[in-house]
């Protein structure tokens, strides 16, 4: 199974750090936290990122604007709004976003699906 590369975008350090830690606890998932748009774009150019996840502290307008810019430069990246459920919803949000993606089978491993 291919490793999933995820950026957590949030200006709130302690919230962002928890989500990055939760991501890194998953086998085959790699999480990176960035607090600002310029740092986000630097990391997107440096690594082959699969998902950008918006966490706490990002307004709806910012999400829309940043999403457009990401998609212009990196159209295959999946963008997710994380609804602050930490590990409770995070895996679900990622699984849900990967559903229907051509490459999803590369990332889906041992989730408890019914």
């Amino acid at each position: 199974m291919k490793e999933l590369e995820i950026i957590v975008f949030s200006p709130i350090t302690d919230m962002r750090d928890v989500i990055v830690r939760v991501i890194n606890n998953e086998k085959k998932w790699n999480g990176y936290g960035v607090p600002s748009f310029p740092e986000l774009m630097v990391l997107l150019r440096q690594r082959s990122i699969d998902i950008v996840l918006f966490d706490a502290g990002v307004s709806t307008d910012e999400e829309i604007e940043i999403s457009h810019k990401i998609k212009e430069a990196f159209p295959k990246i999946i963008i997710i709004q994380h609804y602050g459920g930490g590990s409770g919803l995070l895996k679900n949000e990622i699984m849900s976003a990967l559903e229907g993606q051509e490459s999803s089978a590369d990332f889906i491993d041992d989730a408890n699906t019914k």
């Binding site: 919230m15 502290g57 609804y83 602050g84 590990s87 895996k91 679900n92 699906t113 019914k114």
Partner: protein, 236 residues
């Protein structure tokens, strides 16, 4: 009319030893693409927590969290400075908004706690985080549905950032009730806490869930000694 039926034994499960949970909708490691949410109702977890155990400090943002202890007591602490015990018969709301850290522990060292955890997507992002709790008026729930959550702080119960309403009814005898949906575009999800009920012709047992939308009313026949939670939420 559209409906969905979730039998109690079809819920997702998790057993962490100190915590045993049943999930009406996808949560944690339980993922079912057909059970992700009911409109803005995203999480309905039925939790059992061992004595003195609980959820350590963890964050939430941009979600409305309602906790209803069914047995036992929980001690809540959060980064807003709130320290509170929610007891059986209470109801707690936390609007996570821009972000809040909190913990919830079984307050008692000699008995387990059971509670419902319900998460609703808010209608406004990045609000100021807030916390509130009330003791439910059981007299108002006797043989009728009593409002316990609503969008307006001037109404009965606690309020939240969403056009959602919660009602609880406790029925001593068999009764027919028609619940009228309060906002066009909303659906309502009935969750049987105790006993049985018939909802729109469907026989429901304890912890069954039944959702209905694209209707104006929900017809319920509550059985004797039943207790029912109704969660009305926007479907979009």
């Amino acid at each position: 009319m559209n409906t969905v039926l979730h039998k109690a034994d079809t819920r997702g499960t998790a057993n962490h030893g100190w915590l045993q949970s049943k999930y009406s909708f996808s949560f944690g490691n339980y993922y079912n693409s057909e059970r992700k949410q009911f409109g803005m109702l995203r999480v309905l977890n039925d939790d059992f927590v061992e004595a003195s155990k609980g959820f350590g400090k963890h964050p939430h943002d941009n979600i409305e969290i309602i906790s209803i202890p069914l047995e036992g007591d929980l001690e809540h602490k959060d980064s807003l400075g709130n320290v509170a015990v929610i007891k059986e018969g209470d109801l707690q709301i936390m609007s996570a908004g821009t972000g809040v850290f909190h913990s919830e522990f079984n307050k008692n060292s000699d008995r387990s706690a059971k509670f419902l955890q319900i998460w609703i997507y808010p209608n406004k992002k990045n609000v100021e985080p807030r916390y509130d709790q009330i003791t439910l008026n059981t007299n108002k729930m006797k043989n009728q549905f009593s409002q316990v959550v609503s969008p307006d702080e001037t109404y009965d119960g606690v309020w939240l950032h969403q056009d959602a309403w919660f009602h609880i009814g406790q029925f001593e005898k068999e009764m027919n009730i028609m619940y009228s949906i309060k906002k066009e575009g909303n659906g309502v999800y009935a969750f049987i806490l105790e006993g049985t009920a018939e909802v729109e012709g469907h026989k429901l047992l304890k912890r069954d869930g039944f959702g209905i939308w694209d209707v104006k009313n929900m017809n319920i026949t509550a059985s004797k000694n039943s207790k029912i939670l109704l969660i009305e939420v926007p479907m979009n």
